[in-house]
């Protein structure tokens, strides 16, 4: 049983096909609501956590403990005039934030979420290549950022976009190689290692333990993907004002902002799925989703601590790090994975 069949059962009175059409519609709706709620929660957690680290109280005026602050903020952003610079490249300028947001939602839709109580599996997409699709979705977001940087015809934005390109090129290859090691290890246990659900279910020991180097490389790559400090070179606020989103205001800026926090949550979920056993755990038939959320949230808090306490690395040093340290490390990790799989049969 999963969400789709539960919904189809609920709408069974309309007949077989209309019930499934309605079920798909509502599933999509739930998906988007989940993403939006998690974004709002993410920003709220970030602001409260940042405030506590900085000996402040954080938002506490709107609603109890400031819970409604984010809704007030998003209303404010939506109500603001969205200024369009006169020198822009019109179409890319308008669609860039949408691309970022679409990439984010697609990424969330491709994750397996595990079982929850009586509903059954919460997974939305059942594909045999969902791992590939996930990384394809993750690769969409940089395109939006680069488009935004170049189409706004602002020198800060252009420098930010070019830094973004250099950054993406230098961490994506180590990232994919460390995922390849996982697929290698999983292929000994399952016929379909590219399916994320299978990849999670074969983790009797979380892959983070035999693949500790891979976990490090992948986590660094995910921090760079989400682009927060220390790897926020492309939007470094003290140098390039706001990088690729310099010229954006109102809801368009809000989409970039949500893209940032969404990708932090998304990358935390991906790391916990791939390396920390995802929704595996005791009683995972009922509470798998809860395990996933807890692991994800712990990673999110670790990410926030890194964000708030580490200075920004210089772009040339990051490119150096990507090619000189991360890439060799990921290749060594691949060899270790091969030895573990073929030699020891883990």
């Amino acid at each position: 049983m999963n969400v789709l069949t539960r919904l189809a059962d609920f709408f069974a009175a309309f007949g077989h096909y209309p019930a499934y059409i309605l079920a798909y519609l509502f599933e999509t709706l739930f998906m988007i609501v989940f993403v939006m709620v998690s974004l709002v929660a993410m920003i709220y957690i970030f602001r409260k956590y940042m405030a506590r680290l900085q000996l402040r109280v954080g938002p506490n005026r709107v609603g109890k403990f400031g819970t409604l602050q984010l809704i007030a903020d998003s209303l404010k952003l939506a109500g603001k005039e969205s200024i369009l610079p006169s020198g822009r490249d019109d179409l890319p300028f308008r669609i860039a934030p949408i691309i970022v947001f679409l990439g984010l939602i697609t990424g969330f839709a491709l994750l397996p979420y595990g079982q929850f109580y009586f509903i059954g599996s919460l997974t939305v997409t059942h594909s045999d290549v969902s791992l590939l699709l996930l990384f394809a979705a993750l690769a969409i977001m940089p395109i939006g950022e680069i488009l935004a940087g170049i189409s706004s015809r602002n020198k800060y934005a252009v420098v930010g976009a070019l830094r973004g390109v250099a950054k993406d090129v230098s961490f994506e290859i180590p990232m994919m190689i460390s995922v390849l090691a996982l697929v290698m290890m999983a292929s000994a246990k399952t016929a379909n290692p590219l399916n994320l659900s299978n990849l999670v279910e074969v983790q009797f020991i979380p892959y983070g333990i035999p693949q500790i180097i891979g976990l490090g490389v992948f986590f660094i790559a995910m921090v760079a993907r989400a682009s927060f400090s220390p790897f926020d070179m492309s939007e470094s606020d003290s140098e390039l004002v706001s990088g690729h989103s310099t010229e954006y205001t109102g809801m368009r800026f809000g989409m970039f902002y949500m893209g940032l926090f969404g990708s932090i949550f998304l990358s935390s979920l991906v790391v916990s799925l791939l390396y920390l056993g995802g929704y595996n755990g005791p009683y995972s038939g009922y509470a798998g989703f809860v395990f996933l959320l807890i692991k994800g949230l712990i990673l999110v808090l670790i990410s926030f601590t890194i964000w708030l306490s580490v200075p920004r690395i210089r772009i040339d040093k990051f490119v150096n790090m990507g090619w000189k340290y991360l890439l060799p490390a990921s290749i060594i990790n691949l060899i270790i994975a091969g030895v573990l799989t073929l030699g020891l049969g883990i």
Binding site: R52, L53, Q54, L55
Partner: protein, 144 residues
């Protein structure tokens, strides 16, 4: 003269984690901020902001006008019986430009002009100038 030492070199990553631990330690400390309109920190005795004027004591010597570095004080004619103030001139204060340097309080020969603890002087009027009569009233009686 002492030569400053460069800090001990930390291992990569380990050093960063130590620095993160220093920051994360503060998570369990109490916030230091004060939620202003509800909570108010007690003010030190010497804190000064709002200028008061005792109309009976003012002799209209214009010393405060002269010593004001920002030209925030101007003398105004006020129709009021005061045997000590024959010229009937009293200072008004523009709080928009007042820098609270306390020179006027310091120089006043009769202690007619003095500063007090009151600091909540926000007003909706465009002008921040307090006329001599307003200066002698408590803050909540001043028309805002």
């Amino acid at each position: 003269m002492i030569e400053v030492k460069e800090p001990k070199k930390e291992l990569p990553l380990i050093g960063t984690m130590k620095a993160m631990a220093v920051v994360a330690k503060h998570l369990f400390q109490k916030p230091v901020t004060v939620q202003y309109p509800e909570q108010k920190r007690e003010l030190p005795d010497r804190f000064r902001f709002r200028i008061f004027l005792s109309l009976d004591d003012c002799v209209g010597c214009t010393l405060c006008e002269q010593v004001c570095p920002n030209i925030s004080i101007h003398m105004q004619k006020v129709d009021r019986e005061n045997p000590r103030n024959k010229r009937k001139i009293y200072p008004d204060v523009n709080f928009g430009t007042c820098t609270v340097c306390r020179n006027c309080e310091e120089i006043c020969p009769t202690d007619a002009i003095y500063l007090t603890h009151v600091f909540e002087t926000a007003r909706t009027r465009n002008s921040f100038t307090y006329s001599p009569e307003e200066l002698s009233l408590p803050e909540d009686e001043v028309v805002k």
